[in-house]
């Protein structure tokens, strides 16, 4: 059980001449909540995009539960049990909650070559269940996501990630643009991941949020990991000094 659930080894990524990620190696342990901190351009978003399949690394390896894996798209990442909640929200505002919850993973009544009729009843039922499981109170799964508040949207995104029974949940700046009350809810959620045996990777600008809900903090600067310590072994001041 000491084997890390996800580990990246010596990852590199270039963007047209810019070396954005320079040999990053991190192990994420089971049931651990890791805070990933860094300034804009430090490479944390690139690292997350590689793990969630939005981009591919130029060099380096990714291991999931000890197995070397190739992640060539978001679907690969989801199949490996990695769910990502994005800063700019992975919801389509012009679609209903039920439809959003199952984008790309619609339960089907019958299909040929991957295209067919969706089981709309099941989508509505399961989305109601998924939403109440994350303690969010929305009356109708038919409401458009565009009509929800930022916090409610983030809640639906979390409900979606939990519904698909992920092993690792990446939260990319989930508290941006949220009210204090909604932020606290998200932080409480990151804390609760441990009880549900889910590894959390929490990306944030806000040191206080990370220290409030994570077991470990990893700081990145200029494309490299500059600090990797248990929360108990470090202080906000120390982390700030290395950024």
């Amino acid at each position: 059980m000491n084997e890390p659930i996800v580990s990246v080894k010596n990852l590199h990524k270039w963007y047209s001449g810019v070396h954005a990620v320079k040999g990053v190696s991190i192990d994420f342990a089971r049931n651990e909540a890791v805070g990933l901190i860094g300034d804009n351009g430090a490479g944390k978003s690139t690292l997350i995009n590689i793990l969630s399949g939005v981009q591919r690394q130029d060099e380096g390896e990714i291991f999931v539960e000890g197995q070397k894996v190739a992640i060539s798209g978001p679907r690969d990442s989801m199949r490996l049990g990695i769910e990502t909640i994005y800063q700019y929200n992975s919801m389509v505002p012009t679609m209903s909650i039920a439809r959003n919850l199952f984008i790309g993973r619609e339960p089907m009544r019958f299909s040929i070559a991957g295209v067919g009729f969706m089981d709309m009843g099941r989508m509505r039922e399961e989305s109601v269940k998924a939403i109440s499981n994350v303690d969010l109170h929305l009356r109708s799964p038919d409401a458009l996501v565009g009509e929800l508040s930022g916090g409610q949207r983030q809640g639906v995104a979390i409900a979606r990630a939990m519904h698909f029974k992920s092993k690792v949940m990446i939260l990319d700046e989930p508290t941006n643009h949220l009210s204090v009350k909604e932020t606290n809810k998200v932080i409480g959620f990151v804390r609760s991941l441990k009880e549900q045996s889910v590894t959390g990777i929490f990306i944030s600008h806000n040191m206080h949020h990370v220290f409030e809900c994570c077991d470990r903090v990893v700081a990145m600067a200029r494309g490299q990991v500059v600090l990797d310590k248990r929360i108990g072994d470090t202080t906000i001041e120390e982390v700030q000094s290395v950024l």
Partner: protein, 325 residues
């Protein structure tokens, strides 16, 4: 009650539907009861499917967040391909398959070029409009070929139904409309189309093959336009290279009148059809009311602007209705 009102006000095709009903009543009284006679309706129903088929494709493509200005040219090229092949003694079924293939190729090229080079589909399909129109004239050699007599016109344009009110093309149109509506609202593919047009980054992040979804919509749009062109040629009995000119903009107007958003993600097949019905009803109604026919484009133009304003107003009003979510 409030919730119901909100749901209906958010339906993008509502404004156009209300307007259609109003106009039908107006023209009925202005034309001295001529508008709703069987003879007149037969004329309207006979022409409507051709533009409606084009508008269905354009609507789906616009929901997917893209544009197609080449539909009018494909409308002419497809039947011309069929007709020219048939003058070389190719049987109808083979010529038809070749015509459909031409449409598929054009749709694929529209989508592929747009995505591969990340250029606006407005540009790609504007270019394709000229290319396809030119090809139509080139393959015809400048003279429309004669249609052979053994064409299955009965299958596409003969009159059917009670009082011979409809042509076969109307049946085709209804079948296509139902199928495409179901595709859009009930299948996972429809879900992907809406997601791709609604918010592309989210669709990509959820692992939807957005490039393939878009290309599929481009192909659907081209094939439906070509099919519509074939129907018109069979109705007129001659493959003129100039048919479908200006149709691309009328189809866009129809989609927009029916509540489809230019920005993608919002719209319905039914909306596009109502848009077409409005255009046809205005065309026909103005004539029956003995208004100078040159006012037709004026009416369509004002209607397009009015419909978009009415739609956005309705949507805003609907949003303002507070219901618990």
């Amino acid at each position: 009650m409030k919730r119901l009102l909100k749901i209906y006000m958010e339906k993008p095709e509502l404004a156009a539907l209300l307007l259609l009903v109003v106009l039908i009543f107006l023209f009925q009284s202005r034309s001295g009861g001529l508008f709703l006679t069987a003879g007149n309706l037969r004329g309207v129903f006979g022409i409507l499917p051709e533009m409606a088929l084009v508008a269905i494709g354009v609507t789906v493509l616009m929901i997917c967040g893209e544009f197609d200005l080449s539909v009018g040219a494909v409308f002419a090229l497809m039947p011309m391909t069929v007709a020219v092949l048939m003058t070389h003694d190719v049987p109808f079924s083979v010529a038809l398959a070749a015509g459909v293939l031409v449409c598929v190729a054009i749709g694929f090229l529209n989508g592929f070029l747009t995505i591969q080079f990340a250029i606006p589909s407005f540009i790609t399909t504007l270019g394709m409009m000229f290319v396809a129109r030119s090809l139509t004239v080139v393959v015809s050699g400048g003279f429309p070929p004669l249609l052979s007599a053994d064409l299955p016109t009965w299958l596409f344009v003969s009159f059917v139904g009670p009082g011979e009110l409809f042509r076969m093309s109307f049946i085709w149109f209804v079948a296509v409309a139902i199928l495409v509506s179901l595709l859009l609202s009930r299948t996972n593919f429809g879900n992907w189309v809406r997601a791709t047009g609604g918010f592309l980054p989210a669709a990509n992040a959820m692992g939807i093959p957005t490039a393939r979804v878009k290309i599929a919509c481009f192909i659907l749009c081209s094939v439906l336009s070509g099919f519509a062109g074939l129907i018109q040629v069979l109705r007129l009995g001659s493959p003129l290279p100039s048919i479908g000119e200006g149709m691309e903009l009328q189809a866009v107007a129809a989609a927009v009148i029916g509540g489809t958003a230019l920005t993608g993600g919002i719209g319905a097949v039914l909306g596009g059809i109502i848009g077409v019905a409005l255009i046809r009803v205005i065309d026909n109604g103005l004539i029956l009311s003995q208004v100078d026919a040159n006012w037709f484009k004026f009416a369509i133009g004002s209607l397009t602007i009015f419909a978009v304003i009415a739609n956005s107003w309705l949507r805003k009003r609907a949003k303002a209705i507070k219901v618990e979510v």
